[in-house]
């Protein structure tokens, strides 16, 4: 099993870099995953990561990207709830990459 090291802790990830245990997540885990993907996390990234964590808390699933886009538009406004903006923040796909940073499983219904 692969691991990443965050604050001296060994954390298990799967072959695609997603957390094995969702409860292992803390903010520095996202920072470390972003560093591996060469993404620098700013406030805009955190808005989406926090949004995803809240969504998961409520619905127990990681939303598919078009569901995410729609939900972000509703909560954070149209200028953020569009795929161009989200892809700029998360070049490997807002569903997959943002969910990974947020410690969630791969989104359900992303193909």
């Amino acid at each position: 099993m692969a691991t990443i090291t965050v604050d001296g802790k060994e954390i298990e990830v799967d072959e695609e870099g997603y957390l094995v245990n969702l409860s292992d997540w803390f903010p520095a885990v996202a920072e470390e995953m972003a560093k591996i993907d060469e993404v620098e996390l700013g406030e805009d990234h955190w808005d989406i990561i926090n949004f995803l964590r809240e969504y998961y808390e409520e619905y127990q699933i990681a939303p598919a990207v078009r569901v995410l886009t729609k939900a972000v538009a509703k909560k954070l406004g149209k200028e953020k709830g569009n795929s161009k903006y989200l892809y700029e923040l998360f070049p490997y796909g807002p569903g997959k990459q943002a969910c990974k940073f947020a410690g969630l499983p791969k989104p359900t219904g992303c193909v």
């Binding site: 409520e58 619905y59 127990q60 699933i61 939303p63 598919a64 078009r66 569901v67 729609k70 939900a71 359900t108 219904g109 992303c110 193909v111």
Partner: protein, 136 residues
């Protein structure tokens, strides 16, 4: 409706925990939403327990995935047929089921109920109208 859109109905007949059928079916449903098909769900027999309120899986060691049914509206899946006889046979009413809703794009995003109570005969008719029926 264009020719490449098919009517899919996922029929749920089993209690939510104890087997993986309910969870697996829900995952297939959420994935199917990505293909822009006409998707509906039916709940009959013990399947009606899948969408009951206040599920508590503590002690069973299984994850309570019932909140995920509330996301169906976000996935544009808003036809959830519940068989009336199955509810009654189990001493349940609509009040025992979760409030599952969707926002109607064509009606200024008004929140509307996704659950429709149908009789056994009506459900049979609905099944007849489908291109594909997948039951679990």
């Amino acid at each position: 409706m264009s020719d490449d859109i098919k009517k899919f109905m996922f029929v749920n007949t089993k209690a939510p925990y104890g087997t993986v059928y309910a969870l697996e079916s829900l995952e297939v449903v959420l994935i199917s939403a990505a293909f822009d098909q006409d998707v509906s769900l039916a709940f009959c027999d013990d399947g009606v327990f899948q969408i009951t309120k206040n599920q508590n899986t503590e002690g069973s060691g299984m994850k309570n995935f019932s909140p995920a049914y509330k996301a169906l509206g976000d996935y544009d899946i808003n036809k959830l047929y519940v068989e009336k006889e199955s509810l009654e046979e189990r001493g349940l009413t609509l009040d025992n089921l979760m409030d599952l809703t969707y926002e109607d794009e064509d009606d200024d995003w008004a929140e509307k109920p996704s659950i429709k109570l149908v009789t056994r005969a009506e459900l049979a008719d609905l099944m007849d109208q489908q291109d594909v029926v997948i039951s679990s």
